[in-house]
Each structure stands twice: as structure tokens, then as C-alpha cells.
Amino acid sequence: MKSRTRIPTTPLLMILPSFLLAMSIIGYPILDLAWTSMQEVSRFGKMMGFVGLVNFSEVFRDPLFYSSLVRTVIWTVAVVGGTLIISLPIAIMLNDDFYGRGLARVIVMLPWAISLTMTAVLWRWSLNGRAGLINATLMDFHIISEPIEWLATAPLAFTVEILVGILVSIPFTTTIFLGGLSSLPQDSYEAAVVDGAKPWELFRYITLPLMKPFINIAIVLNVIYVFNSLPIIWVMTEGGPANGTDILVTYLYKLAFRFGQLGKASAISLIMFSVLFVFTIAYVLMVMRQEHDSADEEVKHDA
């Protein structure tokens, strides 16, 4: 890329509007949350004075915070792990040429096109204990003999929500993997096949190592998205029954907008923000390293 000598302020003026908007809509609320988290706040949002870290110590003494935290970890690990295990073979199949591949791609990507809210509404009705057609289908195939109340008990409801979470994360993850697979060098495969490598060995010793950067990015991005995901749990069970499916985001939302405990809610927001920040930095570093690598490659090609 050749540099043009023009007035250097032009590009800065061009990025300025977007920068200012991002700072005021995304940057300012973070400062406001930090400020609020150290205040005593009334139900109606009135600041009652500086209290230091009282809100934080209240959060750390709250058993519901810990149970939500544990569930957040389970939710994130289970959804991200399940998504990765299912998405990689799917991406490998969709990257290969077979009859009906176009249709298969459209079906696999479909959950991405529908808002999480709508998907959750659909599943809430499909899983209805009395009239849900999931029960009808399972009964038709004699897998169960009586309708199951899927969303009435916390452990079962949470398991179902994790499965729905996996389902809606597959399209995005598969897309990342497809991007990675299409960039793999074909000649290493041909060389390995000539040497008599079996399909499993090709996967284990060529595909997997070369896909590692894409798998890493998929992990980090999915952790960020899943950790923050409210709609599925909120629409299907609203964190209930008896807070049994609450994760941090649903608990935070209840504290802020149902119970009016704004100080405590700000403290949780800030704790979540710090976690998110660590993962975001990890992501930015990964992207930078990859750009660095591909820049190196370009140099090699030029030489």
C-alpha cells in the first residue's frame, strides 16, 4: 500500500463521526456504570451518596450471584463446547462437494436468520408440556409414553436451553470454519494421499493443526456471544422456576429492571464487563497476530 501525501487530517475527520458515536453510546455507559456501582441508589435511580465498594461486597455475599455465576460457566462451556464439536464435522461436509449441498447450507444456516427471541418463542411453544408437538412427535415414535413437562423443572429446562443455545450457535461457527477450510492448501492433502495417509490421519495431522487459528477465534467469539446471551433463557423460562435457570445476564436484568437494585446491578455489570474485556483483548490479539501472519505470507509471495 503506497501512502498518499494529503492533508493528514482528512482521514481523521472521516472516522470522527463514527468514533464519537461509539464513544458516547458504548464508552459513556461504562463510565456511568462504574460511577453508579459506587453509589447508594434508590429504587427510582436517585443517587443517595458515595458508598465505595459496598455494592460489590453485597454482590459477593449474595448466594444467588454465585449460583448464577456457576450456571453461567456451565452454560458458556457447554454451549461453546457442544457447538464446536458439532460445527467442525458439519463444516468439513459442507466444504466437500455432494448432491444437495446448497440446500444443506441453507438449512444449517437457517437459525442465524431468525432472531433469538423468535427461536426461543418457537421452542417454548414446541416444548409445552400439555400441548407441545415435541411431546406429540416423541409419543408418535413411542420414545416416551407420557408428555414431559420440559420447562417446569430447572435442571431439565436448563439442559434444553443449552441445546437450543448450541443449535443457534452452529451457523456462525460453521461459517468461520468454512472460511478456514477454503483457505487450506490442497497440495499438502495431495502429498499426504500419495504417501498413503488415511482420511482420519488427514484430519488429525493436516486439517486440525491448520484449522487451529480458526478454532481459537471461534472459541473466543462464541464465549463472548454466549456469555452475553439473554433472549433464549429470558424468553423460555425468565430464569425460573425459582431462579433455577438464572445466569448472570438474566439475574442482572432482574436486579436492574424488576427489583430496582440499581447499585448492585451496576456492580454485576462491571464485573461482567471485566470478564468480557479480558476475552475481547484475547480476540484483538488473535486477529492482530493473524493479520501479521498473512502479511508475512504476502511478503513471501512477493519475493
Binding site: G100, A104, V121, L133, S183, A256, L276, T280
Partner: protein, 276 residues
């Protein structure tokens, strides 16, 4: 049997459980939207029903104020898409064509804003909108959607802008065009496909957004579609599921068709930009 046919059968066999799980709720959506109300709760539950009740859609339209929510969603999604694209074009152009100090920093800043989710900031945003007196105004959603989508739009546009040869602009400078005219007359027409694709995805993002719409809009008349449909389900003693499903059909099917048609551009844009 040819090897390709054999492989295709094997792949479809492996993919079929996932396809069934993906398609099942949509099947349930259609058969619920079309059945008579008194056949919703029959025991044992069954897929079959006595007649196709197309009137469900008309009833639902009136009872759930679908038209109002549809207009709200259209207003918010269209306005925020237009503003997001308008603000992103110069930024993406600067990132694609200029070399300036702070460029790398700005790109990382964008990546980080993209990772910030509305839910973590929702309380701060709510308080901000209270200060600005924008709570209950659809414009509060417009402003926030623009901000949260901008990293994506700038990134997508920039990756497409990079593929437009700069020689075309350079030629027009030689012919005496100023930077601005060459931008408007030469560059932007070439970038229209990229802008349309990016705009459609921004539109879909805004169309589907839930958390902010749930929080910042308090009066029923200003609900967007996802919140309107959610409000038909949540906290109600009796849910009119046939209406909810009819509303879901209308709210999702058009978007799903457009998305399926355009998804390869999204994959391409991501491969060019964000992920690579």
C-alpha cells in the same frame, strides 16, 4: 452407485438429525398458526387438525396490534441502517485508502466495540437515555443500533472497498477530478453492491434485536416486533398460541428468505475482513 452419490447419501444421513431439529419448530409454527383455537390444547397432543384457519392471521393482525409493531420495527431498522451506512462509508474509506497514525488503534477500537454487548451496558444505556429524555422514543433504539452495528458495517465495507482497484480513482485525479468528485462519481457507484449487502445485514440485525428494545421502550404502542410477540407470551395467564405463531410466521419468514439468499455474501465479507 457412483462414489459421489454414495458420499452424498452418507452426508445427508449424518446431517439429517440436525436438519430435523432445525426444521421441526418451523413445522410446529406453521401447523399451530393454521389450526382452530379449540384444537390447540388437545390431549394427547397431535400434529393433525381439522381445517386450515387462514383467518387466524387476520384476527392476529388486529388483536396483537401487529401492524403498529411492524411499522415501529420498519422505522427503527430502516433509519438505523441508513445512518449506520452513512457514517460508515467515510470511516471505511479512510481505513481502506489512507495511511494515518492511529489507524491500527482505531481498528482495534472497532473490534472492541463490536464485542461489547448491549446487555452488559443496558443499565448505563437506560440511564443515558433517561438523561437525554429519549426513553420510550424509537429514536433511542435508532441511536443505539447505529452505534452497536457500526463496527460490523465499517469492517464489512472496508473489506469490500479494499477489493476496488484504486487505479480507477487515480485515473480520475489525473483527469482533474478532485478527491471528493472522484469519490462520489467513481468510487461509490462501484461500491453500491457492497453497501446494499452490508445494509441488508444491518437491517436484519436491527430487526431482530431484543434486549434494548425490551428495555428502552416502555409503552405498548412503541414496541418493535420481537418485543410485541414476546409480550404476547410472557407473564400471561392465557397465551393465544395460534396468534403468537401466526405473528412469528409473518415476522420471520420474509427475513429468513432474504438472509438465506444473501448468506454467501456475509460469508465472503467475513472471510475478507473480520475473520481473516
Amino acid at each position: 452407485m457412483t462414489p459421489k452419490l454414495k458420499k452424498s447419501l452418507l452426508y445427508w444421513l449424518l446431517l439429517s438429525p440436525l436438519c430435523v431439529v432445525i426444521l421441526l419448530p418451523f413445522g410446529i409454527m406453521f401447523v399451530t398458526a393454521l389450526r382452530p383455537r379449540d384444537e390447540l390444547f388437545v390431549y394427547p397432543p397431535t400434529w393433525t387438525f381439522s381445517e386450515f384457519r387462514w383467518e387466524n392471521f387476520a384476527e392476529m393482525w388486529v388483536k396483537t396490534n401487529f401492524g403498529g409493531a411492524l411499522l415501529n420495527s420498519l422505522y427503527v431498522s430502516l433509519t438505523s441502517t441508513i445512518i449506520a451506512i452513512a457514517l460508515s462509508i467515510p470511516a471505511a474509506y479512510a481505513l481502506s485508502r489512507y495511511r494515518f497514525s492511529g489507524k491500527g488503534l482505531y481498528r482495534n477500537f472497532l473490534l472492541m466495540t463490536q464485542m461489547m454487548s448491549p446487555i452488559v451496558l443496558v443499565l448505563g444505556l437506560f440511564r443515558l437515555m433517561v438523561h437525554l429524555n429519549l426513553v420510550n422514543s424509537l429514536n433511542s433504539l435508532v441511536v443505539t443500533y447505529v452505534a452497536f452495528n457500526m463496527a460490523f458495517t465499517i469492517w464489512m465495507l472496508q473489506s469490500y472497498f479494499n477489493t476496488i482497484p484504486r487505479e480507477l480513482e487515480e485515473a480520475s485525479w489525473i483527469d482533474g477530478a478532485t478527491g471528493f468528485t472522484s469519490l462520489v462519481k467513481i468510487f461509490l457507484p462501484l461500491a453500491i453492491p457492497a453497501m446494499v449487502v452490508t445494509a441488508i445485514f444491518t437491517f436484519i440485525n436491527s430487526w431482530n434485536e431484543f434486549v434494548l428494545a425490551l428495555t428502552l421502550i416502555r409503552s405498548q404502542n412503541d414496541y418493535t416486533l420481537p418485543v410485541q410477540i414476546f409480550s404476547q407470551v410472557a407473564g400471561r395467564y392465557q397465551v393465544e398460541w395460534h396468534h403468537v405463531m401466526a405473528a412469528t410466521v409473518l415476522a420471520t419468514v420474509p427475513v429468513a428468505i432474504v438472509f438465506s439468499w444473501l448468506q454467501r455474501y456475509l460469508i465472503r465479507g467475513m472471510a475478507l475482513g473480520a475473520v481473516k
